[in-house]
Every structure is written in structure tokens, then in C-alpha cells.
């Protein structure tokens, strides 16, 4: 068997291969999802190094728990969920920080555009958020979980998740606007 994973390996083949600890399938799974998951980890971690740790641990967990993957959902969705959980586990161990209501002014979403900001700057803005805030924000806005799911994942109330998200969003919009102004690109108000 060639160690180079064939490009045509389907998710199903990868999953069943990983279940029987087949090295080719494991490498194929890693190659297929590691970049996406690294991008995800970067959004939860404080910095690149921590993101690498998250990814590493997340992928190990993926391989350890692959037997619990059933074919109901997509493999990517499942891998994503495992990696997100790994990130959250770490964030939970750190004390989740939240933002005080007083510090946040309501910002209008109208006319807001993200066209003038690149991913790197965006990531910087997100990474600067307090951890609890960042977690809720990532989970809701990008991962697409509901507030109810987030509440369970982070052991907070649904209301907390909602209010924190609203605040996170306001802060982010404000900071993105600041960023695009300071980096010289113009933003239409």
C-alpha cells in the first residue's frame, strides 16, 4: 500500500480507514482538515503557539474518538465539533473573561462592511477579545451554533450567551471600523 494518500479517498473511506487505525487514512484525514481546523483554532487561541497546541490535541482526540463517528453527519462537521470542544475545554480551564456592560456602547450595524479588512487583521481583533466573549462570538457567528447550544457548551445561561454576543458584536464592529481607518482604507459611514 502506498503511503501517499490517494486524492480520491472519500470521507467514508477516510473514516472507516481511521477506525481501523489505518495510517494512510489517518494522514488523509489530517491533510484534508488540518488547515481548516488550524484556521479555526487560531480564532479561539491567544496566539499562534496556543493554536498549534489546540490543533494538535484536537486532532489526537479526533483519532482517539473516531469510532464514535457515525455517518449521520459529515465527517468535517464531526471533526470540527471535536476540535471546537478541545478549544473550549482549554478556554474553560482558563477563567473565562467577560466584558463589563458599561464598557460597551451600542454600535449600529447599518452600513457596516468588512470588505476593507483582511483576515489577518480580523483575527487580530477577535483574538484581542476577552476569552469568554471570544468563545461565544466564534461559536455563534462563525460556527453557527445556537445560543441554547452555546449555553450548554460553556455552562452559562442562554441569556448570558445572547447578551454577551450582542456586546461582542458591538465591540467588534467598533474595532473593525477603527482598524480599517487606522490602516488607511476608507470606510463609508
Amino acid at each position: 500500500m502506498s503511503l501517499q494518500p490517494p486524492l480520491t479517498m472519500t470521507d467514508e473511506q477516510i473514516a472507516s480507514g481511521c477506525k481501523s487505525s489505518d495510517a494512510t487514512a489517518q494522514k488523509a484525514l489530517y491533510d484534508k482538515f488540518s488547515r481548516k481546523m488550524f484556521g479555526l483554532c487560531l480564532r479561539y487561541a491567544k496566539g499562534r503557539e496556543e493554536a498549534e497546541d489546540f490543533l494538535q490535541e484536537g486532532m489526537i482526540t479526533v483519532f482517539q474518538r473516531i469510532s464514535s463517528f457515525n455517518r449521520e453527519g459529515s465527517l468535517e462537521g464531526w471533526v470540527r465539533r471535536v476540535v471546537v470542544n478541545t478549544c473550549l475545554e482549554h478556554l474553560r480551564k482558563q477563567k473565562l473573561q467577560w466584558v463589563n456592560i458599561d464598557e460597551v456602547e451600542e454600535t449600529a450595524e447599518n452600513g457596516f462592511t468588512m470588505e476593507n479588512i483582511n483576515v489577518k487583521d480580523l483575527l487580530e481583533v477577535i483574538n484581542a477579545l476577552p476569552t469568554g466573549f471570544k468563545a461565544v462570538f466564534n461559536l455563534y457567528a462563525i460556527e453557527g451554533f445556537t445560543h441554547k447550544e452555546i449555553a450548554e457548551m460553556l455552562s452559562i445561561s442562554e441569556g448570558t450567551s445572547k447578551s454577551q454576543y450582542a456586546r461582542a458584536k458591538a465591540v467588534l464592529i467598533k474595532r473593525i471600523a477603527e482598524k480599517t481607518i487606522t490602516t488607511g482604507s476608507s470606510v463609508n459611514e
Partner: protein, 353 residues
């Protein structure tokens, strides 16, 4: 115009940066050898690992001085060294046997200048951790193979020689009650030639109160490594307020051993579980904790909450229905840090509603 969430999703769509190849190497190592999961977490704990490695290196250096005369005679690596290796929680499986010359080069400078404990920057630490760890590991391999006595010595040096003193003899909050008799008893058990400075604990959450005892009978100055010094004392309790790693040593009387105190994150002392999303839970634990159990009690000593490593957050509830009232509560933590140091710690929580 697209809404905020969709714009964000678009922005991150296709954001797929290449992860460094080291990640896959670690993952592969971990999934091919069943014993390796511990190694995976090692990277995360590089900070503490470095400290552990430094301690180990010093331990080995001391050992080396003892073992050196017959060190070159026997080069087989016994199963004992493997045991030590796993105990030290080192991740690099190294079977090379370095020459004694190399050993001296790497080990001796560390023992001469034990000043380098306080890490200066995270990047540096990570780098150091791999090199030092490896060195320590190599050293252990050679030296332990030669003599069982050496194994015992280095092990004690490395993993904090005064455990006996710490847990059984010196009560944490009772510095003045400690007598020299007690410590010298423990000292003879340890059979340590250089250890004359002891502490009752090595690790804990900030603020951490540690009692140090010098067993030579003579007064000495103790440098706590955090900028403060106790003058002319044989026994002193010091509170480390900030998280960090401190090398504590005697400045007088030629007591050579340094005690590494690892102060973990501050758990805080208050929380307000009123559902406003701010400080609603009291979180026990932290990044550097491997294993933890915690109990929370009220004033009457009734246990209200127990938590463990995976679930170490108290939301202020007594059960599904009732909630704890505003007041002071007490916790007991039994924990093991990532560098394998077990400790217990008590504290109080102020609950506000």
C-alpha cells in the same frame, strides 16, 4: 448588504493556513504509540516542563559528581531508566548514550549558576524546554543506568527532596511551631547532602503561602526569588502573590539547594452568580493542572459542591432548585500540576448575588 454574521463567515471562508509539520509529527507519534497521549499535552505545558527539566538537570548534575568515577564502565540502559523517564514525564524517547564529556559540559553550568530559573519570555522558554529537557533526559539515561543509588538521588533531587518534610512534618500555616528536630529527622530519611532548605509545598494557586525551614540551626537570609528577602531566620512563611516560577535559596551559610516554587493562576476570591454573564461561575483549576478535585463547604462544614478536572466550575447552586446565598464559602483542592507535583490548597470564596 449582507448581515454581520454572513460577512464574517465569508471572511473566514477559505481561511486555511498551513499548520506547522511538527503538529502532525506529534499527532502521529501520539496515535501510533498508545502510551503517548501524555506527550501530546507536553507541548502545552512547555513552561512548567522547562522548570522541571532545569530541576532535573541540576539533580543529575549533582548525581553526576557522585557517579562519575565509575560512570564510564557501564553503558547499558536499564529498565530503571525507563521508569525514571516516564516519571519525569519527558516526551522525547532518546536512546542515545552521550559521552561523559558531553554530560559534564551540559550539566555542570546549570549547577554552578542556578540563577536562570526565572523565565524571561515565553518564546525562549519553549525553545529551552526542548533542549534542556532532552539534555536532562540524556543525562538520566546514562547516569541512572550505572547505579541504583544514583537513580534514587537524582530522583529525589529532581522531584523535590523535601516531600517528607512538607506534608507530614511542617504544617502549612504553622511556621513558628516547626522545630529543627522535626526537620533533621526528615533530613536523615532523605539522606540529602546538600538539601538544607525545605518548604511545605511547591505548587499552588496564587496567592500561595509557603513555609520555608532551614535545618542547619543557624540563621540565614532567604531569597524568595520574587524580589523579597527574609533576613536571619530559620523558618519563615512567605506569600507569593503573583503566578510564576520562583527559585528560592539561602543567601548565607552555604546552603546550596534551591527550591522551585511554582505559583499557578489566581483563582480569585469572589463571584456573583446572578446570571448577568459576568463572573457567574467560580472556576477552580487552570492551564497547568493535570488532575484536580475540589469540594466547597459552607460555614457549618456542609459540602455543597464537588468538582473534578473536567468539571471544576461552581455556579453557586446547591442543587437543581436551590441556590447558595450571599456569603463566605470554603474550598479544599487536591490537585496535580502538569509537572507532576501534587498539592492541596484551601481557600475562601465570597459569593455575591
Amino acid at each position: 448588504m449582507k448581515n454581520f454574521e454572513d460577512q464574517l463567515k465569508d471572511a473566514f471562508d477559505g481561511f486555511e493556513p498551513e499548520a506547522p509539520s511538527s503538529v502532525w509529527n506529534h499527532v502521529q507519534q501520539s496515535i501510533t504509540s498508545p502510551a503517548a497521549p501524555a506527550a501530546a499535552t507536553k507541548v502545552i505545558t512547555a513552561k512548567l516542563g522547562w522548570i522541571a527539566a532545569a530541576v532535573i538537570t541540576i539533580g543529575v548534575a549533582v548525581t553526576l559528581l557522585v557517579v562519575k568515577p565509575w560512570a564510564s564502565k557501564n553503558n547499558t540502559i536499564g529498565s530503571r531508566s525507563a521508569a525514571v523517564k516516564s516519571e519525569l514525564n519527558t516526551s522525547v524517547a532518546n536512546t542515545e548514550t552521550p559521552s561523559n564529556e558531553k554530560l559534564q559540559k551540559t550539566a555542570v553550568p546549570n549547577s554552578v549558576s542556578p540563577d536562570g530559573y526565572t523565565p524571561s519570555s515565553d518564546n525562549k522558554i519553549t525553545e529551552n524546554s526542548t533542549t534542556t529537557e532532552k539534555t536532562a533526559n540524556e543525562n538520566t539515561n546514562t547516569t541512572t543506568a550505572n547505579s541504583d543509588v544514583a537513580v534514587v538521588n537524582s530522583n529525589q533531587n529532581a522531584s523535590n527532596s523535601n516531600k517528607v518534610v512538607s506534608n507530614s512534618v511542617v504544617p502549612k500555616s504553622n511556621a513558628t511551631a516547626t522545630t529543627n528536630n522535626n526537620t533533621s529527622k526528615a533530613y536523615s530519611i532523605q539522606n540529602q547532602e546538600t538539601a538544607n532548605l525545605f518548604s511545605n509545598t511547591k505548587t499552588g494557586f496564587a496567592p500561595l503561602s509557603v513555609t520555608f525551614v532551614v535545618n542547619t540551626g543557624a540563621n540565614t537570609d532567604i531569597d524568595f526569588g520574587d524580589g523579597s528577602i527574609a533576613f536571619k531566620t530559620t523558618s519563615v512563611t512567605h506569600v507569593f502573590t503573583k503566578p510564576g516560577v520562583y527559585g528560592v535559596k539561602c543567601l548565607l551559610n552555604n546552603i546550596e539547594n534551591t527550591i522551585i516554587i511554582t505559583v499557578l493562576n489566581d483563582l480569585g476570591s469572589a463571584f456573583s452568580p446572578n446570571g448577568d454573564g459576568i463572573n457567574d461561575n467560580f472556576v477552580f483549576g487552570g492551564d497547568d493542572i493535570r488532575d484536580l478535585t475540589v469540594s466547597v463547604y459552607d460555614r457549618s462544614g456542609k459540602r455543597l459542591y464537588t468538582g473534578n478536572t473536567n468539571n471544576c466550575m461552581w455556579d453557586g447552586s446547591l442543587n437543581d432548585v436551590q441556590k447558595a446565598e450571599t456569603g463566605t464559602y470554603f474550598y479544599d483542592i487536591f490537585a496535580t500540576s502538569v509537572d507532576g507535583e501534587s498539592f492541596k490548597q484551601k481557600g475562601t470564596i465570597n459569593l455575591f448575588r
